[in-house]
């Protein structure tokens, strides 16, 4: 029998496993929304910790949050940012569409961690209250979208763009190395006029360069934060100046040019910036698929194919055919592109332009 403690919310008492830092609302969500295995992305934990720390800084600077509560909230957020307590965020993707329960999960964990710092009882909401302090000047309806935008931008800049740039640069280096190798061009998969191998690969590098530009452009919309608009965009219960101050704090913490959205109603009722960003991922996936396919064709062989490229021998390719090497990296990349683009799009053959066509 798991030991439990009593946590409360506006609907009453809920029993929570004693060793967990979350509170009543997280526990209710766990019970009502345990659908599938997909948890709220871990990137959202970090994004929310940045957001809560930034909000605490802005509220403290505005004289609304006392020194002690501010110090404790920042300390708890810093622990989360250092990678601690991530197992205290157990909620599933398939929950309330607003993400409210995840926001409350963050509020409850920060509040309870502050209780531990202060030596008070878990669930006592003292000295730091989940709603009054951790959620001060915020609504789930402006914090969740803002955390999504932070997660999207931080990971696009910190992970996706470096990976795409690295691939672009590696392809460009090969293009430079192979700039004088004249080979046959192909259109409609039939022989065409000559081209250099370098020109062909220079084309691939250019495709990736264009994709990098598209993602950077789309991020401009993602930098506009909804924070300060609170529940419906009007800013009720957020102090004047909070929106700008919290955006400035988030910029300071992430090094990315976030700003307070000039139109809070736009970024609350819709998340078109994320749809656009996602669209750039789809375009990138289409490009990668084409590049992977071309390399598969050119490396087809080694004795009965195009045989123009020799690919690395990374692993044995067959359990029965000795000595076989396969373009598995191209397969894995194109499969992940297919996953990215969705099953229905996969059947649109026009998306895959083989070789020169």
């Amino acid at each position: 029998m798991t030991e439990v403690r009593r946590e409360t919310d506006s609907l009453g008492v809920v029993e929570v496993p004693a060793d967990k830092l979350w509170g009543a609302q997280t526990q209710r969500s766990l019970e009502h929304f345990s659908i599938g295995h997909d948890l709220i992305p871990r990137e959202m934990i970090t994004a929310y910790a940045i957001l809560k720390k930034a909000a605490a800084n802005a509220n403290h600077a505005g004289g609304r949050l006392d020194d002690r509560a501010h110090r404790l909230i920042v300390q708890a957020c810093d622990e989360i940012l250092a990678g601690q307590h991530h197992d205290m965020f157990p909620l599933h993707v398939w929950m309330t569409g607003s993400g409210t329960q995840f926001n409350m999960n963050v509020n409850e964990v920060v509040s309870n961690r502050c209780c531990q710092f202060a030596g008070t009882a878990l669930g006592s909401k003292t000295p730091v209250h989940p709603n009054d302090h951790v959620n001060m000047s915020q609504s789930s309806n402006d914090s969740f979208p803002s955390a999504m935008y932070i997660a999207a931008a931080v990971n696009a800049k910190g992970r996706l763009l470096p990976a795409v740039t690295g691939l672009r640069d590696a392809i460009a280096a090969k293009a430079e190395q192979w700039k004088d190798i004249v080979k046959i061009g192909r259109t409609h998969m039939q022989d065409a006029t000559p081209i250099t191998l370098g020109q062909e690969w220079f084309g691939y590098a250019g495709m990736l360069g264009d994709n990098i530009e598209r993602i950077e452009d789309a991020l401009k919309g993602v930098y506009r934060l909804a924070l300060g608009g609170t529940a419906v965009g009007t800013g009720i219960n957020a102090a004047p100046g909070f929106a700008e101050a919290v955006a400035a704090e988030i910029t300071k913490l992430t090094g990315l040019p976030f700003l307070s959205a000039p139109n809070k109603f736009t970024v609350k009722g819709a998340h078109d910036a994320l749809v656009q960003l996602s669209g750039t991922f789809r375009t990138l996936a289409v490009s990668l698929y084409k590049i992977a396919n071309d390399i598969r064709l050119m490396s087809c062989g080694p004795r009965a194919g195009f045989e123009e490229l020799q690919i690395p021998e990374n692993e044995p390719g067959s359990s029965i055919m000795p000595g076989k090497v396969n373009p598995t990296q191209a397969e894995a990349l194109s499969a992940s592109d297919g996953q990215r683009r969705g099953g229905r799009l996969r059947r649109r053959r026009r998306l895959s332009g083989d070789e020169r066509l």
Partner: protein, 122 residues
């Protein structure tokens, strides 16, 4: 797909597919980032050209005839290509057999290295 569906799900003052949207966006970034990095490390960086095969294809190519079009016209150039294919000849042998160009003109015009940049033979 899913993000578009999610984005379309905003009613009045709030969108109600936010977890769906961020789940798919972060998942996409994770698999595309990993895909690009592995593809670079384990495929692109170690790929080498097979120079022998590449040269063989260029030498046997019939579409090199394209460079002759500005000199002898599309129709005659086309005839050379078809004749070479039908009779299993090189382009040069077919061109000389049909008598449309001299060997000197053929060698000067049909140069694959010239054909990879803007070039109109005279």
């Amino acid at each position: 797909m899913a993000v578009g569906f999610g984005g379309a799900g905003g009613y009045l003052e709030m969108n109600v597919y936010k977890p769906l949207m961020i789940f798919n966006i972060t998942h996409s970034m994770t698999i595309i980032s990993g895909g690009c990095t592995n593809f670079r490390k384990f495929l692109i960086e170690g790929t080498k050209p097979n120079l022998k095969k590449i040269k063989e294809y260029v030498d046997r190519s019939l579409m090199l005839v394209t460079a002759l079009s500005p000199v002898i016209g599309y129709d005659k150039a086309s005839e050379i290509a078809h004749y070479a294919l039908d009779n299993d000849l090189t382009l040069k042998a077919a061109a000389l057999k049909l008598g449309f160009v001299t060997e000197e003109v053929f060698d000067r015009v049909v140069d694959p290295a010239k054909m990879v940049r803007p070039y109109v033979a005279e």
